[in-house]
């Protein structure tokens, strides 16, 4: 997904001279192409995320649209206050790119997990929080952000994230995208973990246990949108799936939508519920150990539909 991100940036940079890429010394093997093509609009600021956020703020004040790039844990937390007092407070189009959200850097250990990035980004009403599900959606979404006057946080996967054929790269602000139809339940997911939701739904269908729909919500809004409430209203059972802490994230947003819409659907949230979760390992291992893999999601969904959970 990070390669798709750089591809997308190169596309928009060709058309829009405002695009500027800054990295805090991360993105080896990924950012070089941009640096070579657009040397005047690329900067490695060194290992200094706080300064990067401030420099991006100043650049945005002079008319640029800076994308600041780092591993999601650093991009979201190391410079959170600088982002809040810079692009958020001044209403500037800085794009904070967090690479490898959730457990994508699972082997690297807890310092590199990004489990609260979406939660803290969503705490800012003026921040557009985006979590594309696959590489084609990254492209559509990056292009869509060029029209945003204010700041955005974009969490992308690291690499090896499969494309979801049924999504076709669709994206619109605030709108969930249904990628699989079903009658009994809906799995609402965001980010690269949507892949697990689709496997879970296919498995439940094949084994004749439930007919499960899957929808992607790539824009975590501050308040639930009408489009989200309308979608949830169609299902008696909803399971959310996110690679991060559930409090304040997608699961919370679904709960707010259900409460605000006065809906009767029952909700279960799949996400990380204890500090850091498993210690370290591959993303696949970490997802399974934290209950975010297809098998866990299928179990949760089946139990909810059967009225056992």
């Amino acid at each position: 997904m990070r390669t798709a991100l750089i591809d997308s940036l190169m596309e928009v940079a060709a058309e829009d001279e405002r695009v500027f890429l800054l990295t805090a010394d991360l993105g080896w093997g990924v950012v070089e192409r941009f640096a070579e093509r657009y040397p005047d609009r690329f900067l490695n600021v060194g290992v200094a995320e706080a300064n990067m956020a401030g420099v991006a703020t100043g650049l945005a004040m002079t008319g640029y649209v800076p994308f600041i790039y780092s591993i999601a844990s650093f991009a979201s937390m190391r410079c959170y206050e600088q982002i809040r007092n810079g692009p958020v407070l001044h209403g500037l189009p800085v794009r904070v790119v967090g690479v490898g959200g959730g457990y994508a850097y699972g082997h690297a250990g807890p310092t590199h997990f990004a489990l609260e990035d979406l939660v803290i980004a969503r705490a800012q009403p003026a921040m557009t929080v985006l979590v594309p599900a696959d590489p084609p959606q990254v492209r559509t979404l990056v292009r869509a952000t060029m029209g945003l006057p204010g700041p955005a946080y974009i969490r992308v996967g690291k690499g090896g994230n499969p494309s979801l054929p049924s999504l076709h790269g669709r994206f619109a602000f605030g709108r969930p995208e249904v990628v699989r139809e079903g009658r009994d339940a809906l799995i609402l997911a965001c980010g690269s973990v949507v892949h697990e939701a689709l496997i879970a739904a296919d498995r439940l269908e094949k084994e004749g246990r439930s007919s499960t729909a899957v929808a992607v919500l790539a824009h975590l809004t501050f308040a639930p949108t009408a489009a989200l409430i309308d979608l949830l209203a169609r299902y008696a059972c909803v399971v959310t799936l996110e690679e991060g802490y559930t409090a304040g994230g997608l699961g919370s947003l679904a709960a707010e939508a259900i409460a605000q819409g006065g809906l009767r659907c029952r909700l279960r949230t799949c996400g990380v519920t204890r500090a850091f979760g498993p210690v370290s390992g591959s993303e696949a291992y970490m997802r399974a150990a934290a209950g975010l893999d297809a098998a866990s999601v299928a179990r949760t969904t089946e139990a909810l539909v059967a009225g056992r959970a």
Partner: protein, 260 residues
């Protein structure tokens, strides 16, 4: 301008019953040298204007005074300082015309100044950026991230003025976290740095004139006295926060020159 600013700071601090008086009084000459001296079209909407970033946002009353002196803020608006719904808070807000950068959280201003300096240079705009930092602000690591960045990118259109009054919220800077020879440290980071008397407008203007070293950012370490001009406030820690009473304000004004 310096005389007007001092009176306005005392009068308005009393009227609004707000502190940070000593911090504002201490930078009056620096503000005068910048806003009535070297800065080009400061506080205007001109694209080529020089930009000012007040790192020590808690001294914003001196900035509002400069805007008033330059005719960019009328006296009525100035008098709303710290009133409900006013754009003139203790720390400056970019919602107020004339303020380019909202500040108040120490350590973040210089990075924004770096971005402004770099962006304007890339766009061929000949404007200069002036960032006024407090000496306690140098405790913040981000200042040094920005100092390295500015030197590496040869941001010669960027000038830092350090308000070296030697006091911070809870004590003397030398007792909290000592930073001996700040000018030497800025030099070591690759800046063109020098010491200057922070209450000598002529000396400040001379030192702030466009740098002779073409490829380096400039740092001026301005030696100042907190509460300058009011003897009972000078170099007294409590005047970082304390508010005035009408009696103290009258006494303070007695020590100041009449408004020109």
């Amino acid at each position: 301008m310096a005389r007007a600013l001092r009176r306005w700071i005392i009068e308005q601090s009393l009227a609004s019953n707000v502190g940070h008086i000593g911090s504002a009084l201490g930078i009056v000459e620096i503000m005068t040298a910048l806003w009535a001296g070297v800065m080009k079209d400061p506080g205007t909407g001109e694209p080529g204007r020089d930009r000012f970033v007040l790192g020590k946002g808690h001294a914003a009353l001196a900035l509002y005074g400069a805007l008033r002196f330059r005719g960019l803020l009328d006296a009525d608006a100035f008098h709303t300082y710290c009133g409900d719904g006013s754009a003139l808070g203790v720390h400056p807000e970019h919602a107020l015309p004339g303020v380019d950068v909202s500040t108040g959280s120490l350590g973040q201003a210089l990075s924004i100044g770096c971005g402004l300096a770099l962006g304007l240079r890339k766009k061929g705009v000949g404007a200069r950026i002036y960032a006024l930092l407090s000496d306690a602000e140098l405790n913040e690591g981000q200042v040094w991230e920005a100092a390295m960045f500015a030197a590496h990118h040869r941001l010669s259109n960027l000038t830092v003025v350090v308000d070296l009054n030697g006091l911070q919220a809870l004590g003397r800077t030398r007792d909290v976290v000592a930073l001996p020879s700040p000018a030497a440290i800025w030099k070591a980071f690759g800046w063109d740095a020098r010491d200057v008397d922070g209450h000598d407008v002529e000396a400040l203007v001379g030192a702030l004139a466009p740098p002779e070293v073409p490829d380096r950012p400039r740092a001026l370490v301005a030696r100042t006295v907190l509460g300058k001009g009011v003897p009972f406030m000078e170099d007294r820690l409590e005047w970082h926060y304390r508010n005035l009473t009408p009696e103290l304000a009258r006494e303070a004004l007695r020590h100041l020159d009449p408004e020109p």
